[in-house]
Amino acid sequence: MSKSAISGSGTNGFWLADSAIDSAAFREHLGDESCGACVIFEGWVRNHNEGRSVLRLAYEAHAPMALKEGNIILQEAMQKFAITKAAAVHRQGELALTEAAVVVGVASAHRDAAFHACRYIIDEIKHRLPIWKKEYYADGTAEWVNCRQCGTSHAHGETHV
């Protein structure tokens, strides 16, 4: 992907973006004549969470390890599923409602593999990437999401070096 498509950092199909993700440029990265299916998942910033009214979000990433782990996840998807291309981009910094926080795209010869691989990638991103989300609420407070209730029970039990 060209540098103009995503303002941020990344290589090998996984990026961290500092500003709005250009979906058309992202889609171009997946194009391949051998592919008959393309599945793209976008995770959006919504206006509520667990009964609270959300105004905006901020994502903090530890970029060196987020990029490394993101690319490992894409490689795993390439090995596990019959897909041809996989790419993902995650925002960092401040986000407004309706913006895409994460975009995952997979292209393959047939649709089943693309659906399954896309699901695998977004689930692994949520569990493994060193990225944290802070929600800002209508009542003026702000909280790091999941930071108190998860603990070790949330850990995947896998380490990737």
Partner: protein, 80 residues
């Protein structure tokens, strides 16, 4: 005694009130170091340990610490 560089992220950083600190410690593992830091920064006491990296590689809590290691403590992640 080992000299260890600690980096705190997100909720941990706000609880510790520093982004990074250098400590001299007898802690033999990351788990012992985290417990020691919870005593130093009481606001961390309510947090359970989640994930960590040593020298920018994901690491196990029981891995022995070496002098000069950089230990990154990650709160439970919340991407997507």
């Amino acid at each position: 005694m080992r000299t260890i560089e600690i980096k705190w992220f997100a909720a941990y950083r706000e609880a510790a009130e520093v982004a990074a600190e250098t400590v001299h410690t007898d802690a033999a593992t990351a788990a012992e170091l985290f417990a020691e830091m919870q005593r130093k920064h009481p606001a961390l006491a309510s947090f359970s340990a989640a994930l960590l990296a040593i020298n920018n590689e994901m690491a196990d809590w029981n891995r022995p610490l070496q002098d000069g290691d950089e230990v990154l403590f990650f709160p439970p992640v919340a991407g997507g």
